[in-house]
Protein backbone atom coordinates (compact mmCIF):
# COMPACT_ATOMS: atom_id res chain seq x y z
CA UNK A 1 0.00 0.00 0.00
CA UNK A 2 1.34 3.40 -0.92
CA UNK A 3 2.06 5.77 1.95
CA UNK A 4 0.34 9.10 2.39
CA UNK A 5 2.18 12.34 1.69
CA UNK A 6 2.65 14.41 4.83
CA UNK A 7 3.45 17.70 3.13
CA UNK A 8 3.63 19.34 -0.30
CA UNK A 9 6.17 21.90 -1.37
CA UNK A 10 8.48 23.19 -4.06
CA UNK A 11 12.19 22.55 -4.32
CA UNK A 12 13.78 25.86 -5.25
CA UNK A 13 17.17 25.40 -6.80
CA UNK A 14 18.69 28.29 -8.73
CA UNK A 15 15.87 29.62 -10.91
CA UNK A 16 14.11 26.24 -11.12
CA UNK A 17 11.20 25.10 -8.99
CA UNK A 18 10.38 21.40 -8.71
CA UNK A 19 7.04 20.51 -7.06
CA UNK A 20 7.43 17.67 -4.58
CA UNK A 21 5.51 15.64 -2.02
CA UNK A 22 7.12 14.60 1.26
CA UNK A 23 6.82 11.09 2.71
CA UNK A 24 8.29 9.74 5.92
CA UNK A 25 11.06 7.22 5.20
CA UNK A 26 10.76 5.81 8.73
CA UNK A 27 8.27 3.26 10.12
CA UNK A 28 7.70 3.00 13.86
CA UNK A 29 8.23 -0.62 14.93
CA UNK A 30 8.64 -0.01 18.64
CA UNK A 31 6.68 -2.37 20.88
CA UNK A 32 4.45 0.14 22.65
CA UNK A 33 3.47 -0.54 26.24
CA UNK A 34 0.92 1.33 28.30
CA UNK A 35 1.25 2.15 31.96
CA UNK A 36 -1.50 0.44 33.95
CA UNK A 37 -2.48 0.65 37.58
CA UNK A 38 -1.76 -2.77 39.02
CA UNK A 39 -5.08 -3.19 40.87
CA UNK A 40 -7.54 -2.61 38.04
CA UNK A 41 -5.22 -3.17 35.05
CA UNK A 42 -6.54 0.01 33.53
CA UNK A 43 -4.57 2.70 31.78
CA UNK A 44 -3.42 5.47 34.07
CA UNK A 45 -4.01 9.17 33.46
CA UNK A 46 -1.52 11.97 33.91
CA UNK A 47 -1.84 15.36 35.49
CA UNK A 48 0.45 18.08 36.75
CA UNK A 49 0.54 18.69 40.48
CA UNK A 50 2.14 21.17 42.80
CA UNK A 51 4.91 19.08 44.38
CA UNK A 52 4.42 20.64 47.84
CA UNK A 53 0.66 20.48 48.24
CA UNK A 54 -0.03 17.61 45.83
CA UNK A 55 -2.88 19.69 44.39
CA UNK A 56 -3.71 19.34 40.73
CA UNK A 57 -2.95 22.27 38.43
CA UNK A 58 -5.16 22.37 35.34
CA UNK A 59 -3.87 22.97 31.81
CA UNK A 60 -5.39 26.46 31.75
CA UNK A 61 -3.51 27.39 34.90
CA UNK A 62 -0.10 26.09 33.79
CA UNK A 63 2.46 28.70 32.76
CA UNK A 64 5.53 28.00 30.64
CA UNK A 65 8.84 29.12 32.06
CA UNK A 66 12.31 29.30 30.52
CA UNK A 67 14.91 28.49 33.15
CA UNK A 68 17.59 31.20 33.16
CA UNK A 69 19.54 29.64 35.99
CA UNK A 70 18.50 27.03 38.56
CA UNK A 71 15.28 28.22 40.14
CA UNK A 72 14.99 31.38 38.05
CA UNK A 73 12.39 31.36 35.28
CA UNK A 74 11.25 33.82 32.63
CA UNK A 75 7.55 33.39 31.86
CA UNK A 76 6.86 32.72 28.18
CA UNK A 77 3.27 33.12 27.02
CA UNK A 78 1.52 31.36 24.13
CA UNK A 79 1.46 34.72 22.32
CA UNK A 80 5.25 34.95 22.73
CA UNK A 81 5.67 31.54 21.15
CA UNK A 82 3.28 32.39 18.32
CA UNK A 83 5.23 35.56 17.54
CA UNK A 84 8.36 33.42 17.18
CA UNK A 85 6.85 31.08 14.60
CA UNK A 86 8.39 31.32 11.15
CA UNK A 87 6.33 32.55 8.20
CA UNK A 88 4.50 29.70 6.48
CA UNK A 89 5.94 28.82 3.07
CA UNK A 90 5.87 26.00 0.52
CA UNK A 91 9.45 26.55 -0.56
CA UNK A 92 12.33 24.19 0.10
CA UNK A 93 15.29 26.38 -0.69
CA UNK A 94 18.61 24.80 -1.61
CA UNK A 95 21.31 27.27 -0.65
CA UNK A 96 24.56 25.37 -1.16
CA UNK A 97 26.10 21.97 -1.88
CA UNK A 98 28.73 20.07 0.12
CA UNK A 99 30.49 16.71 -0.23
CA UNK A 100 28.81 14.03 1.97
CA UNK A 101 31.88 13.76 4.24
CA UNK A 102 31.43 17.42 5.24
CA UNK A 103 28.36 16.37 7.24
CA UNK A 104 29.21 14.31 10.33
CA UNK A 105 26.83 11.45 11.22
CA UNK A 106 25.86 13.40 14.34
CA UNK A 107 23.85 15.92 12.34
CA UNK A 108 21.41 13.57 10.62
CA UNK A 109 18.05 13.29 12.31
CA UNK A 110 15.13 11.96 10.25
CA UNK A 111 14.83 10.99 6.59
CA UNK A 112 11.97 11.83 4.23
CA UNK A 113 11.45 10.76 0.64
CA UNK A 114 10.61 13.42 -1.88
CA UNK A 115 8.32 12.35 -4.70
CA UNK A 116 7.79 14.30 -7.92
CA UNK A 117 4.48 16.17 -7.91
CA UNK A 118 4.16 16.92 -11.61
CA UNK A 119 7.53 17.61 -13.24
CA UNK A 120 9.14 14.15 -13.16
CA UNK A 121 11.92 15.05 -15.59
CA UNK A 122 13.36 17.82 -13.42
CA UNK A 123 13.04 15.64 -10.31
CA UNK A 124 14.97 12.68 -11.71
CA UNK A 125 17.47 14.96 -13.46
CA UNK A 126 18.32 16.64 -10.14
CA UNK A 127 18.71 13.23 -8.45
CA UNK A 128 21.07 12.15 -11.23
CA UNK A 129 23.09 15.39 -11.07
CA UNK A 130 23.53 15.05 -7.27
CA UNK A 131 24.72 11.48 -7.74
CA UNK A 132 27.13 12.37 -10.56
CA UNK A 133 28.63 15.30 -8.64
CA UNK A 134 28.66 13.37 -5.31
CA UNK A 135 27.16 16.28 -3.42
CA UNK A 136 24.40 16.89 -0.88
CA UNK A 137 22.29 20.02 -1.06
CA UNK A 138 21.66 22.08 2.08
CA UNK A 139 17.94 22.79 2.26
CA UNK A 140 15.85 25.17 4.35
CA UNK A 141 12.09 25.02 4.68
CA UNK A 142 9.20 25.67 7.03
CA UNK A 143 6.81 22.84 7.79
CA UNK A 144 3.99 22.96 10.35
CA UNK A 145 5.21 26.14 12.06
CA UNK A 146 8.76 24.93 12.41
CA UNK A 147 11.86 25.88 10.44
CA UNK A 148 14.06 23.00 9.24
CA UNK A 149 17.52 22.57 7.79
CA UNK A 150 18.13 19.38 5.88
CA UNK A 151 20.43 17.53 3.52
CA UNK A 152 19.08 16.76 0.05
CA UNK A 153 20.58 13.47 -1.16
CA UNK A 154 20.25 11.17 -4.05
CA UNK A 155 19.55 7.56 -3.14
CA UNK A 156 18.63 4.83 -5.64
CA UNK A 157 17.63 7.45 -8.26
CA UNK A 158 15.32 9.19 -5.77
CA UNK A 159 15.60 12.39 -3.76
CA UNK A 160 15.81 12.06 -0.01
CA UNK A 161 15.63 14.93 2.43
CA UNK A 162 17.23 14.19 5.82
CA UNK A 163 16.57 16.77 8.54
CA UNK A 164 19.70 18.02 10.27
CA UNK A 165 20.03 18.96 13.94
CA UNK A 166 20.54 22.56 14.94
CA UNK A 167 24.04 23.74 15.76
CA UNK A 168 23.01 24.20 19.43
CA UNK A 169 22.22 20.49 19.73
CA UNK A 170 25.47 19.10 18.40
CA UNK A 171 28.70 18.98 20.39
CA UNK A 172 31.96 18.76 18.51
CA UNK A 173 34.52 16.15 19.56
CA UNK A 174 37.11 18.98 19.36
CA UNK A 175 35.45 20.64 22.36
CA UNK A 176 35.77 17.57 24.58
CA UNK A 177 38.76 16.91 26.86
CA UNK A 178 41.16 14.33 25.50
CA UNK A 179 41.04 11.05 27.43
CA UNK A 180 43.85 10.73 29.98
CA UNK A 181 46.43 7.96 30.07
CA UNK A 182 49.51 7.11 28.08
CA UNK A 183 49.56 6.73 24.33
CA UNK A 184 49.37 3.16 22.99
CA UNK A 185 52.67 1.45 22.23
CA UNK A 186 53.64 0.44 18.71
CA UNK A 187 53.15 -3.21 19.62
CA UNK A 188 49.64 -2.59 20.88
CA UNK A 189 48.78 -0.55 17.79
CA UNK A 190 49.99 -3.31 15.52
CA UNK A 191 47.93 -5.90 17.38
CA UNK A 192 44.83 -3.70 17.39
CA UNK A 193 45.23 -3.03 13.69
CA UNK A 194 45.42 -6.77 13.04
CA UNK A 195 42.35 -7.36 15.18
CA UNK A 196 40.34 -4.69 13.36
CA UNK A 197 41.67 -6.06 10.08
CA UNK A 198 40.32 -9.52 10.86
CA UNK A 199 36.89 -8.05 11.55
CA UNK A 200 36.84 -5.90 8.41
CA UNK A 201 33.77 -6.08 6.23
CA UNK A 202 31.15 -4.15 4.36
CA UNK A 203 28.01 -2.60 5.80
CA UNK A 204 25.23 -4.96 4.86
CA UNK A 205 21.87 -3.80 6.19
CA UNK A 206 20.32 -7.26 5.76
CA UNK A 207 22.66 -8.56 8.50
CA UNK A 208 20.79 -6.62 11.15
CA UNK A 209 17.47 -7.62 12.62
CA UNK A 210 15.87 -6.55 15.88
CA UNK A 211 15.77 -10.07 17.30
CA UNK A 212 14.90 -8.81 20.73
CA UNK A 213 11.79 -7.03 19.47
CA UNK A 214 10.71 -10.30 17.82
CA UNK A 215 11.30 -12.26 21.03
CA UNK A 216 9.33 -9.76 23.11
CA UNK A 217 6.39 -9.87 20.68
CA UNK A 218 6.45 -13.66 20.62
CA UNK A 219 6.49 -13.79 24.41
CA UNK A 220 3.57 -11.35 24.63
CA UNK A 221 1.54 -13.51 22.25
CA UNK A 222 2.34 -16.65 24.25
CA UNK A 223 1.46 -14.94 27.49
CA UNK A 224 -1.82 -13.69 26.01
CA UNK A 225 -2.70 -17.33 25.25
CA UNK A 226 -1.66 -18.29 28.79
CA UNK A 227 1.31 -20.29 27.53
CA UNK A 228 4.29 -18.14 28.49
CA UNK A 229 7.48 -20.17 28.95
CA UNK A 230 9.53 -19.79 32.11
CA UNK A 231 12.47 -17.50 31.54
CA UNK A 232 15.88 -18.22 32.95
CA UNK A 233 17.65 -15.70 35.16
CA UNK A 234 20.49 -13.65 33.74
CA UNK A 235 24.03 -14.76 34.53
CA UNK A 236 26.61 -12.13 35.33
CA UNK A 237 29.70 -11.76 33.18
CA UNK A 238 33.31 -12.39 34.05
CA UNK A 239 35.62 -9.57 35.03
CA UNK A 240 37.77 -7.84 32.43
CA UNK A 241 41.40 -8.90 32.16
CA UNK A 242 44.37 -6.73 31.14
CA UNK A 243 44.28 -5.08 27.75
CA UNK A 244 47.31 -6.96 26.50
CA UNK A 245 45.98 -10.40 27.27
CA UNK A 246 42.54 -9.44 25.97
CA UNK A 247 44.00 -8.38 22.63
CA UNK A 248 46.14 -11.50 22.42
CA UNK A 249 43.22 -13.79 23.19
CA UNK A 250 40.87 -12.01 20.79
CA UNK A 251 43.44 -12.20 18.01
CA UNK A 252 44.12 -15.89 18.61
CA UNK A 253 40.48 -16.89 18.71
CA UNK A 254 39.68 -14.83 15.61
CA UNK A 255 42.60 -16.35 13.69
CA UNK A 256 41.39 -19.78 14.71
CA UNK A 257 37.87 -18.96 13.46
CA UNK A 258 39.28 -17.74 10.16
CA UNK A 259 41.34 -20.87 9.66
CA UNK A 260 38.36 -23.06 10.49
CA UNK A 261 36.13 -21.20 8.04
Amino acid sequence: MAARAIWKGELKIGGTKIPVKLYSAVVDRTVHFHILDDKHLMRVKQHMVNPDSGDEVTNEEIQKGYELEPGKFVIITDEDLESLEPKPSREIEITEFVPPEAISQQWYERPYYLAPDGDQKAYFALAEALKNREREGIARWVMRNKAYVGALRSEDDYLLLVTLRNAEEVISARDLPKPAGRAPTQKELTMAKQLVGLLEGEFNAADYKDEYRERVMEFIEQKARGKAPRLRAVKSKRKAASLDSVLQKSLQSLKKEKRAA
Binding site: Q63, Y66, I75, I76, L130, R133, E155, N166, E200
Partner: protein
Protein backbone atom coordinates in the same frame (compact mmCIF):
# COMPACT_ATOMS: atom_id res chain seq x y z
CA UNK B 1 5.90 24.10 33.42
CA UNK B 2 4.97 26.29 36.35
CA UNK B 3 1.94 26.81 38.58
CA UNK B 4 0.10 30.17 38.59
CA UNK B 5 2.32 31.06 41.57
CA UNK B 6 5.40 30.13 39.58
CA UNK B 7 6.34 26.86 41.24
CA UNK B 8 7.78 24.12 39.01
CA UNK B 9 5.22 21.34 38.64
CA UNK B 10 5.67 17.62 38.69
CA UNK B 11 3.91 15.07 36.54
CA UNK B 12 1.86 12.42 38.38
CA UNK B 13 -0.01 9.36 37.25
CA UNK B 14 -3.40 8.61 38.70
CA UNK B 15 -6.02 5.91 38.48
CA UNK B 16 -9.19 6.92 36.75
CA UNK B 17 -11.21 4.61 38.94
CA UNK B 18 -10.02 5.77 42.36
CA UNK B 19 -8.78 9.23 41.24
CA UNK B 20 -5.76 8.68 43.50
CA UNK B 21 -2.17 9.39 42.54
CA UNK B 22 -0.11 6.25 42.02
CA UNK B 23 3.43 5.48 43.16
CA UNK B 24 5.90 3.77 40.85
CA UNK B 25 5.31 0.39 42.55
CA UNK B 26 1.57 0.62 41.95
CA UNK B 27 1.98 0.65 38.20
CA UNK B 28 2.80 -2.08 35.69
CA UNK B 29 3.61 -2.23 31.99
CA UNK B 30 0.90 -3.63 29.73
CA UNK B 31 0.67 -4.49 26.05
CA UNK B 32 -2.79 -3.94 24.56
CA UNK B 33 -3.88 -7.14 22.79
CA UNK B 34 -7.52 -6.12 22.44
CA UNK B 35 -9.30 -2.90 23.16
CA UNK B 36 -8.94 -2.39 26.93
CA UNK B 37 -7.34 -5.83 27.37
CA UNK B 38 -3.69 -5.96 28.37
CA UNK B 39 -0.90 -8.49 28.86
CA UNK B 40 1.31 -7.44 31.77
CA UNK B 41 5.05 -7.65 31.11
CA UNK B 42 7.49 -7.20 33.99
CA UNK B 43 10.97 -5.61 33.94
CA UNK B 44 12.38 -8.99 34.86
CA UNK B 45 10.73 -10.69 31.89
CA UNK B 46 12.07 -8.04 29.53
CA UNK B 47 15.54 -8.49 30.96
CA UNK B 48 15.40 -12.27 30.74
CA UNK B 49 14.18 -12.15 27.14
CA UNK B 50 17.43 -10.53 26.02
CA UNK B 51 19.55 -13.05 24.11
CA UNK B 52 22.76 -13.71 26.05
CA UNK B 53 24.99 -12.51 23.23
CA UNK B 54 23.34 -9.10 23.13
CA UNK B 55 23.87 -8.15 26.75
CA UNK B 56 27.29 -6.67 25.97
CA UNK B 57 28.38 -4.40 23.19
CA UNK B 58 30.20 -6.74 20.89
CA UNK B 59 31.95 -5.07 17.97
CA UNK B 60 31.44 -7.65 15.25
CA UNK B 61 32.53 -5.89 12.12
CA UNK B 62 34.49 -2.81 11.08
CA UNK B 63 33.38 -1.06 7.89
CA UNK B 64 34.62 1.97 5.94
CA UNK B 65 33.25 5.04 7.76
CA UNK B 66 31.44 6.52 4.77
CA UNK B 67 29.76 3.24 3.75
CA UNK B 68 26.75 3.56 6.09
CA UNK B 69 23.90 5.57 4.48
CA UNK B 70 22.85 8.55 6.64
CA UNK B 71 19.22 7.40 6.75
CA UNK B 72 20.25 4.88 9.41
CA UNK B 73 21.58 7.36 11.95
CA UNK B 74 19.35 8.27 14.84
CA UNK B 75 21.36 9.91 17.62
CA UNK B 76 24.97 10.31 18.68
CA UNK B 77 26.50 9.66 22.10
CA UNK B 78 30.08 10.35 23.08
CA UNK B 79 31.75 7.47 24.85
CA UNK B 80 34.13 8.21 27.72
CA UNK B 81 36.58 5.71 29.15
CA UNK B 82 35.92 4.32 32.59
CA UNK B 83 38.73 4.48 35.13
CA UNK B 84 41.12 1.72 34.13
CA UNK B 85 39.98 1.43 30.53
CA UNK B 86 41.71 4.56 29.15
CA UNK B 87 44.37 2.44 27.47
CA UNK B 88 41.89 0.27 25.59
CA UNK B 89 39.88 3.34 24.66
CA UNK B 90 42.82 5.26 23.22
CA UNK B 91 44.04 2.21 21.37
CA UNK B 92 40.69 1.51 19.78
CA UNK B 93 40.12 5.18 18.91
CA UNK B 94 43.52 5.60 17.30
CA UNK B 95 43.28 2.37 15.33
CA UNK B 96 39.81 3.16 14.01
CA UNK B 97 40.59 6.78 13.18
CA UNK B 98 43.77 5.91 11.28
CA UNK B 99 42.00 3.20 9.31
CA UNK B 100 38.87 5.32 8.64
CA UNK B 101 36.76 2.53 10.12
CA UNK B 102 33.46 2.46 11.98
CA UNK B 103 32.60 -0.51 14.21
CA UNK B 104 29.13 -2.05 14.23
CA UNK B 105 27.49 -3.70 17.20
CA UNK B 106 24.14 -4.64 18.65
CA UNK B 107 23.16 -4.80 22.32
CA UNK B 108 20.09 -4.77 24.54
CA UNK B 109 19.55 -2.08 27.16
CA UNK B 110 16.44 -1.21 29.20
CA UNK B 111 14.02 -3.30 27.18
CA UNK B 112 15.24 -2.32 23.74
CA UNK B 113 17.74 -3.69 21.27
CA UNK B 114 20.15 -1.18 19.79
CA UNK B 115 22.15 -1.24 16.60
CA UNK B 116 25.07 1.17 16.94
CA UNK B 117 27.99 2.24 14.84
CA UNK B 118 31.04 3.55 16.63
CA UNK B 119 33.15 6.31 15.10
CA UNK B 120 36.48 7.75 16.20
CA UNK B 121 37.14 11.47 15.78
CA UNK B 122 39.89 13.56 17.41
CA UNK B 123 40.70 10.65 19.69
CA UNK B 124 37.12 10.46 20.97
CA UNK B 125 34.76 7.54 20.38
CA UNK B 126 31.17 8.27 19.50
CA UNK B 127 28.31 5.79 19.23
CA UNK B 128 25.52 6.51 16.78
CA UNK B 129 22.31 4.63 17.45
CA UNK B 130 20.85 3.36 14.19
CA UNK B 131 17.50 2.32 12.77
CA UNK B 132 17.05 -1.34 11.91
CA UNK B 133 16.46 -1.95 8.19
CA UNK B 134 12.78 -2.82 8.77
CA UNK B 135 12.30 0.63 10.33
CA UNK B 136 13.05 2.23 6.96
CA UNK B 137 10.73 2.34 3.99
CA UNK B 138 11.89 1.53 0.48
CA UNK B 139 10.86 3.65 -2.52
CA UNK B 140 8.45 0.81 -3.41
CA UNK B 141 6.89 0.90 0.08
CA UNK B 142 6.19 4.60 -0.39
CA UNK B 143 4.90 4.04 -3.91
CA UNK B 144 7.38 6.36 -5.66
CA UNK B 145 7.05 6.39 -9.46
CA UNK B 146 9.57 4.53 -11.64
CA UNK B 147 12.42 6.62 -12.94
CA UNK B 148 11.63 8.31 -16.23
CA UNK B 149 14.16 9.09 -18.92
CA UNK B 150 15.65 12.50 -18.33
CA UNK B 151 17.04 14.93 -20.89
CA UNK B 152 20.86 15.08 -20.65
CA UNK B 153 20.73 18.86 -20.95
CA UNK B 154 18.65 19.14 -17.75
CA UNK B 155 21.11 16.95 -15.83
CA UNK B 156 24.00 19.07 -17.14
CA UNK B 157 22.20 22.25 -16.09
CA UNK B 158 21.81 20.95 -12.51
CA UNK B 159 25.40 19.67 -12.43
CA UNK B 160 26.63 23.12 -13.35
CA UNK B 161 24.47 24.69 -10.67
CA UNK B 162 25.78 22.23 -8.09
CA UNK B 163 29.40 22.98 -9.03
CA UNK B 164 28.79 26.73 -8.84
CA UNK B 165 27.25 26.55 -5.39
CA UNK B 166 29.53 23.90 -3.90
CA UNK B 167 31.50 24.42 -0.71
CA UNK B 168 34.08 22.16 0.87
CA UNK B 169 32.84 22.58 4.43
CA UNK B 170 29.50 23.02 6.10
CA UNK B 171 29.57 25.96 8.46
CA UNK B 172 27.93 25.72 11.85
CA UNK B 173 26.18 29.06 11.29
CA UNK B 174 24.30 27.49 8.37
CA UNK B 175 22.84 25.07 10.89
CA UNK B 176 21.81 27.74 13.38
CA UNK B 177 18.21 27.71 14.52
CA UNK B 178 16.64 31.15 14.11
CA UNK B 179 13.58 30.19 16.10
CA UNK B 180 15.65 29.27 19.14
CA UNK B 181 17.81 32.35 18.72
CA UNK B 182 14.73 34.54 18.63
CA UNK B 183 13.36 32.80 21.72
CA UNK B 184 16.64 33.39 23.54
CA UNK B 185 16.57 37.05 22.52
CA UNK B 186 13.06 37.36 23.90
CA UNK B 187 14.13 35.66 27.13
CA UNK B 188 17.03 38.09 27.43
CA UNK B 189 14.82 41.07 26.77
CA UNK B 190 12.28 39.96 29.34
CA UNK B 191 14.94 39.20 31.92
CA UNK B 192 16.68 42.58 31.58
CA UNK B 193 13.31 44.25 31.98
CA UNK B 194 12.98 42.30 35.22
CA UNK B 195 9.48 41.49 34.10
CA UNK B 196 7.91 38.08 34.33
CA UNK B 197 10.74 36.62 36.33
CA UNK B 198 10.04 34.06 38.98
CA UNK B 199 12.50 32.69 41.48
CA UNK B 200 11.97 29.54 43.50
CA UNK B 201 14.09 27.53 45.88
CA UNK B 202 15.77 24.63 44.17
CA UNK B 203 16.48 21.13 45.30
CA UNK B 204 19.22 18.99 43.96
CA UNK B 205 18.26 17.35 40.74
CA UNK B 206 18.77 13.90 39.45
CA UNK B 207 21.21 14.22 36.59
CA UNK B 208 20.50 11.63 33.91
CA UNK B 209 22.47 8.44 34.29
CA UNK B 210 25.52 8.26 32.08
CA UNK B 211 26.06 4.86 30.59
CA UNK B 212 29.62 3.76 30.45
CA UNK B 213 29.65 1.99 27.13
CA UNK B 214 33.43 1.61 27.25
CA UNK B 215 33.22 -0.59 30.32
CA UNK B 216 30.72 -2.82 28.56
CA UNK B 217 32.83 -2.84 25.44
CA UNK B 218 35.92 -3.87 27.34
CA UNK B 219 34.02 -6.59 29.13
CA UNK B 220 32.83 -7.92 25.80
CA UNK B 221 36.36 -8.05 24.44
CA UNK B 222 37.41 -9.95 27.54
CA UNK B 223 34.56 -12.40 27.25
CA UNK B 224 35.69 -13.28 23.73
CA UNK B 225 38.86 -14.99 24.91
Amino acid sequence: MLSPEGEPLSRKYYSEKTEKDLDADEMVRGYEIDKGKYVVITDEELERLAPEKTRDIDLKVFVPEESIPPVYFERGYFLTPDAGSEKAYKLLAETMEKGGKAGLATFVMRGKEYLVSIFAEHGILRAETMRFPDELRSPEDVGLPKKTKVPKATVKKFEKLISNKSKKQLSRTTLGDEQTERLLKLVKKKSTQRKNIIEVETEERDEGKVIDLMAVLKKSLAAKG
